[in-house]
Amino acid sequence: MTLLRASVRHLVRHPWQAGLSVLGIALGVAVVVSVDLASASARRAFGLAAEGVTGRATHQVVGGPAGLDERVVPQLAREIGVHPLAPVVEAWVGVEGAPGRTLQLLGVDPFSEAPFRPYLGRGAGTGTRVLGTFVTEPGAVLLSRETAAELRVGISGTLVLRAAGRTHPVRVVGLIEPDDARSRQALRGLVVADLATAQELLDRPGRLSHVDLVVPAGAGGERLLARVRAALPPGAEVVPAAARSEFVGELTRAFDVNLTALSFLALLVGLFLAYNTMTFSVVQRRATIGMLRALGVTRAEIVAAVLAEALVLGLVATSLGLVLGVALAGGLVRLVTRTINDLYFVVVVRELTLSPAVLAKGAALGIGATLLAAIVPAAEASAAPPGAAIQRVVLEARARRAAPRAALAGLAMLATGALLVGVAGRSLVWSYAGLFAIVLGAALLTPLAMVGAAWAVAPPLGWLLGLPGRMAARGVVARLSRTGVAVAALMVAVAATVGVGLMIRSFRATVVRWLETSLVADVYVSAPTLRGGRGGESTLDPAVIARVRAAPGVEAVGTYRGVRVTSPFGPTQLVALGIGPRSYRQFRFLAGSGETVWPAFQDGGAAIVSEPYAYRHGLAVGSALRLRTDRGERAFPVAGVFADYGSDQGVVMVSRRTYEANWDDRGVSSLGLVLAPGADPEATVAALRVRSGGDQDLLIRSNRALREASLEIFDRTFAITAVLRVLATAVAVIGVLSALMALQLERARELGVLRVQGFTPREVWRLVLAETGLLGGIAGVLAVPVGIGLALVLIHVINRRAFGWSIETTLPGEVLLQAVGLAIVAALLAGAYPAWRMARTPPAPALREE
């Protein structure tokens, strides 16, 4: 206990050092916890929303793009004797006057609901009279009491819902109040209408989204399912109700893994920091430790004391990290939700789910990482000979001798990392393990590189700054046991910044080039969707299409229909393209050539698939892609693989003719207009806005505007990556501040002697800043090749495996310069306080210390 007290007192006496380390580790923990909490909250929100809709259904009968014909319900009930079953219409709708607020519209038959969603029948005004109104009054809806309160609407109040660009006033006729909290949560964000009302609101007369079934487990259930399957029309199928949530999990898996990996990068930097602090703390007390050993303290007790000190540090840092993490998650959850909405599906996350498991994981990681980081310093401390403290010069000589060995180990680690990356196959986890091995390998190479760099820069630095310059270069190597770890930590963090920065820049440049070729029409017209990205499942009013076609200046119109169909690979984004040869150049084929692809596509019933789709499902030109159509499952030959960055899940395209031959849906999601030569796109957009005026809101955008909007979505998608990058850098900067500051403050006596010798405050500044600047410069320069290596792995391995995209690498000079600049500025900043303090403090107190 006394030993621990001595250790803790040491931390208290070095508040800057201890405080900055705590902050660094806390930030690392906070980043991991916040990312985890944000993802978990989004998943939970989706799960609850799905639960609200799915209720107790075990299976669902689903149809093709146009949904199910409602006549399937009596057929199943009467002919097959399926009971219970409930027809459902569902869709996401916006709320007028509440921007950004979306509700899930659930159209149900109240008489079939009891076995599925019993909570719908509970609450104020759900008695027989209200039920009558609900069924008979057009536009009657039910809301949960909480949702009604949030939207500030009561019974008999009116809400205006927005679906596919149209607005519909509805009247709240009752409030639902489920008994249990979970159902209450599941119902938040749900607006319930009678089936007919919902069909009318969504303009889907006679169509259903799905029919819910409760199928008992066991052989009887299987037999029932077989009978149902046999009776269904060709385009329909039975799927387990959980398939929807599973698909969502699969959809965002790569996104989640990437976020988690980035957050671990922040923790890795935090780990370096903890290692640095503990090493430093041990080195500072080597005399005390020697004395304790002389007094009879055993090696094991020394190890225990150092680990206990780390535990105290870890506990404080982790507690702070958890609090910070929860605060950070509040902001992060918005970014995660936005990205999921842009790229994957509609989800509304209203609150942060404080999962105890996530918090426990964060705590375990924080404390575990700090303890792990303390193992080597603890072992070093226990090796101190009793009595005479190990001489500093011996220690440093040992560090210098260890540098080549560390470099060899680093090379081995680099090779292991490269091997892991190479043989990881499609495993994202192993790819990241390889990436982390490469980072660690580079960190181990750092001390030797520092010795070389200090040797090389000593003459020019001496020439430039005189004695302080030479002393600075010498100091870098003379204190290698401490500078080595600090520079390695800074290098890792800056390399991560460079790697992620280059990855984003390369990706963006590739997307910009892709948009330039893929957006060939002059004007695009679509109905607004709730999803930011290529949602495209809204349907344009045929009257609007006719008016647009007839507009002056419009020379050709291409049609685009985006729907989701099922395939043996799961739900697949299918696009029906109605375009002419003038629009062919928007496709860049990675497999197959235009001459062979287009005839097969237009007239041969072939499909083309995007690169991520082909990559995910192992498809190539000539493969047969099976899709469920309204005529049953059909095989479509793959004629080509094209470059596409619109969706990481990938997309399948067929011609409009092929689509209409296989699916009954005749809807069009958007139009691409080619204007007559000389027509001004912006003027045409303005004219179309006037001309197409009707009851459907339209998004009419020029090529340029759509391109800008697409890039905006791209930037939004990477906003979270950028935030994590900034946080990882912040952890590193704090780490370096702590390490370098402690390093310089420890020199108080030496600097005091220099002041006695006649070093002016300005010369002390010069010396300290030259040394920290040199450390920063070395870290920055080393970070460039390591960062480029990381970028190459991220671009060509991780991205490819996670999303299936091939990205062209770009190496913008300013990203690299920024990296070196960042490292030097961080290091100079770290030197500023000690330099200021030492220059300002009279030398006498510095000499009195010790």
Binding site: L467, M471, F759, P842
Partner: protein
């Protein structure tokens, strides 16, 4: 014993008081100290631990400033002088020898000696020649490329003595220069210090507990209860 040095004293202390705050209390270490030290004198300061010997040396060297009173060295009133001016004063005119050597660990022995010369604007080659000559004089020729921590305590203190004199300062201040050395080594260092300062006619003030030093002194001062009392002259000289 030396004849009293004529002319203006090199160091004049007039009513020098130095107090430190310790919590709410104030501890007076020096209380109205007066003294005059002439050029070429070797003065020894004796007194118990904590009597203020180091403090007085720090004040004379311009490392610290008095709470009250005046300190004039070579005509420069240190108490009223800026920190920057005191730094330059130290750089040009003072050489220090400490109990714990205080060599710069990241500089080699020769570089430690070149440091004051380069600070005084000596050209590199000339500084190198001077440093090597002095190293030979203190018996450490050939050890110039070694780092201080590789040397024994006595060797380190010899380097410190050489460093204090290398730039030919007006005044050498030595704070317990033998306090960290064994008897024989301490004696050798003292002889060296005495020889080099006397030969070059430098003035030296040395704080010590060592009775050996008392024998070398021109004048002996005792610090007791914050007061400085000249207790007599040495038998040396």
């Amino acid at each position: 014993m030396r004849a009293p040095a004529p002319g203006v004293p090199l160091v004049e202390l007039r009513g020098v008081t130095k107090a430190y705050r310790e919590g709410d209390a104030e501890r007076v270490v020096l209380n109205g100290v007066d003294a005059a030290i002439h050029r070429g004198e070797l003065c020894v300061l004796i007194g118990r631990s904590g009597s203020g010997k180091s403090t007085l040396l720090n004040l004379i060297g311009g490392i610290d400033v008095p709470t009250a009173g005046e300190i004039v060295v070579d005509g420069l009133p240190l108490a009223g002088t800026s920190e920057a001016a005191r730094t330059l004063f130290r750089r040009h005119h003072v050489g220090f020898v400490f109990q714990f050597f205080n060599l710069i660990p990241t500089l080699t022995v020769e570089e430690n000696l070149r440091l004051p010369l380069e600070l005084n604007g000596r050209r590199r080659e000339s500084a190198r020649a001077r440093a090597r000559a002095l190293l030979a004089e203190v018996g450490l020729a050939g050890r110039g490329a070694t780092f201080p921590e590789r040397l024994s305590g006595g060797e380190q203190q010899r380097v410190a003595v050489a460093r204090a004199l290398v730039h030919e300062p007006l005044l050498v201040l030595a704070d317990e220069p033998t306090g960290n050395l064994d008897l024989d080594t301490g004696r050798q260092v003292l002889e060296l210090l005495d020889r080099l300062t006397r030969r070059s006619g430098r003035t030296m003030v040395m704080a010590t507990h060592s009775p050996e030093v008392v024998g070398l002194a021109d004048r002996i001062f005792r610090l007791q209860d914050g007061r400085l009392v000249e207790v007599g002259e040495s038998v040396a000289g």
